[in-house]
Amino acid sequence: MEQKKLAIIATKGSLDWAYPPFILASTAAALGYEVQIFFTFYGLKLLEKKLSLEVTPLGNPGMPMPMAMDKWFPVLLTALPGMQAMMTAMMKKKMASKGVASVEELRSLCQEADVKLIACQMTVDLFDMDTSAFLDGVEYGGAATFFEFAGETDICLYI
């Protein structure tokens, strides 16, 4: 049986949205898929050696809030300084208590399983990103690089 292939485009750089690409990539690798993730725009934050991902309730009415805060806490107050750090800390605590892996752990499982991580060169140039802050082994490429692999995949996701 020919090896199945999965390609993912990761575009988001928040703590919550860091999960889908790394969960799916690591699981697919465990199932025997060859996997590539193409990181573009804010998704590039997921490649930093030292992750500093946060979560925000702003602009996200679907986010479950602790202590039913969404019922009585005015949305505007979630924009106060320190709120994002607080929500991030609470989310991380919740995840740990439920046995959900950290993003760091899932990411290193992906690396162990030879998931190829490709950074969008255009975004790196656009935002003058410091590539020395990125993981070792990250490759750089553009849209054509992505399609070379994506064109042969069984599953291709945009996250």
Binding site: T27, A30, G32, K98, G99, V100, A101, L106
Partner: protein, 76 residues
């Protein structure tokens, strides 16, 4: 309980960790050997079925006992 060669306690771990740990443990085992996995994630019941189907390993047993899920997987 049937015999097994190795045991993996994935209690308290959530998706996809039980699968990933199982895959890693199986990688270090020989063909025909049996891995016993203990998990508490209710999603792992369907996930280990799907894992076995897709990897060619055989799910010999899947049962719940005392609030925990037990799986026996034979490495292909």
């Amino acid at each position: 309980m049937a015999n097994f060669d190795q045991e993996l306690d994935a209690s308290g771990l959530n998706c996809p960790l039980p699968i990933l740990r199982a895959k890693k443990t199986l990688a270090g085992m020989g063909a025909g050997q049996v891995l016993h996995i203990i998990a508490t994630d209710p999603g792992s019941v369907k996930d280990f079925e799907a894992f076995s189907k897709q990897t060619g390993n055989t799910l010999l047993e899947s049962r719940e006992e005392g609030g925990k899920f037990h799986f026996l997987i034979k490495k292909a």
